[in-house]
């Protein structure tokens, strides 16, 4: 289907395509195949009831042919209509097959004519409608009807129970669903975790080994934040290890993670702690970067 023009198209005369028989091939002026057919029918200069469908089909098909020769992009609608008219034409010309199913060729043609006539009538009716004097154009009403010697009306508010219930349900639903999203946002970002770690390590003057989860406990009042806090803090720790700011160690897989500020430990040889051999993967890098 072709989209019709935007609602406020330029009011150019759209019948421009239909001159005296000689057609300028310009489909832009037409709003689809029916419009084109009506314009073509008008060139037959007969009442639509007495129009020759065969002649109309020929006119349409040759018009489409011209348009295609002019390498115009034809909307599918026009081609569908062309195919249908070609089919109708062949049905009308050929003798009817003995056992025909569905409507006869004549019935199809008659129905088609009715459809064209209906569109034409609607067009005529719409012209008559638009020709009527219209408010704000030819007729005017009071601009400010309230400017009168009237006492103000009492106001009564109205709302239906349905309004009330649907408003409530909609809000609660929105709230219920948005609350879920809000919780998902309760995540410790890497930056958050690092900032907290730095604050903590900076505060700790003794720079002893301390358990990561121990330190996190003071922030973690809500249990559902544990996973995100631990993960982010651990990642932040690794980052800080890489930058040579902290040491990290772990006795065994899933054992508590220990960390301390590197600055405090410069005096102590790093590599000689026997436990470090058991350090988990996360503790590996600091040694290699030590050099």
């Amino acid at each position: 289907m072709v989209d019709d023009d935007s609602a406020f198209a330029d009011p150019a005369d759209l019948s421009a395509g239909g001159g005296e028989g000689a057609f300028v091939v310009d489909l832009d002026g037409f709003e689809g195949p029916l419009d084109l057919l009506l314009a073509l029918a008008r060139t037959q200069k007969v009442d639509l009831t007495r129009i020759s469908i065969l002649e109309l089909a020929d006119q349409y098909l040759s018009f489409i042919e011209q348009a295609r020769r002019g390498r115009l992009e034809l909307a599918a609608d026009y081609l569908v209509m062309a195919a249908w008219l070609a089919y109708l034409k062949s049905r009308l010309l050929l003798p009817a097959p003995p056992q025909e199913e569905g409507p006869s060729a004549e019935e199809l043609a008659a129905a088609f004519t009715r459809r064209l006539r209906h569109l034409e009538r609607i067009r005529r009716a719409s012209e008559q409608l638009m020709a009527r004097p219209q408010m704000g154009r030819e007729l005017f009403a009071r601009a400010r009807p309230e400017a009168t010697e009237r006492s103000p009306r009492p106001v009564v508010y109205v709302a239906s129970l349905y309004d009330l219930l649907s408003a409530y349900a909609l809000q609660r639903q929105t709230e219920a669903l948005s609350t879920v999203t809000l919780k998902m946002r309760a995540v410790w970002s890497l930056a958050d975790a690092r900032e907290r770690l730095e604050r903590l390590l900076g505060r700790d003057l003794t720079a002893d080994w301390m358990r990561l989860d121990q330190f996190l406990l003071e922030y973690l009042t809500e249990p559902d934040q544990r996973a995100t806090a631990l993960a982010s803090s651990f990642s932040a720790t690794l980052e800080m290890v890489r930058e040579g700011l902290v040491d990290i160690r772990q006795e065994a897989p899933f054992a508590p993670l220990w960390l301390r500020a590197r600055g405090a430990a410069v005096a102590a040889p790093v590599g000689d702690a026997p436990e470090e051999g058991a350090a988990a993967e996360g503790a590996g890098p600091p040694r290699s970067e030590d050099t």
């Binding site: 019709d4 709003e31 019935e107 009716a125 030819e138 005017f140 649907s166």
Partner: protein, 239 residues
Amino acid sequence: MTRPAPRIDLFDVRPDDERAVAFARDLRVIEALLFTASQPLEARAFRPHLSAGADLDALMEALTQDYARRGVNVARVAGGWMLRTAPDLAPALADLAPEQRKLSRAAVEVLAIIAYHQPVTRAEIEEIRGVSTSKGTLDVLLETGWIRLRGRRRAPGRPVTYGTTPAFLVHFGLDSVGDLPGMDELKGAGLLDGRIPAGFTIPLPTDDPELQADEEALEADPLDFTLSPPPSDDPAETE
């Protein structure tokens, strides 16, 4: 051409003629009510303000006559009465009309189809026109306030049905959709596609707010945002 007889002065009554006094007062009240109204007023809008047993038809007839030659006329519109300027003054008043956007041919045609076939679905409009209707066209018509979503057709897909509004009748100066021009010609015409038998006639259009038998209410569909209420323009609400 004969001139109509000079009017009698409806407001010139003898104080002792009680009926005439009541009639003149009722006329004045109707006049004032019409003057203050922004919508066409129906009979029931006048009743409570008129004297007991007032003959509204006679009153309206007298007032309509009285205004007929004035610069403002009483018009029967959308099932009621309203005052509006006389049609022949349009040229003199032309510069009062704000620059109006002209409806495109497509929009005019869709409006006419809605008016003459209401309640009608978009698919039916497209069937008649043989082209798809852009959403913009319906939006523009909805914006004019002349058409409205009526309900949904009880049919697969539950398509929305369209119809005209009282504002449509007022704008085009129609008392009811039965007064649409060209109705007779359309009534006898066969409708839509070839599947409909030749004797088929178009049902009379109706803009009755009551839903038709094959319509159902247009309840809000949470997924259909085109029907959702517009965002509140209360700034405090938007946080």
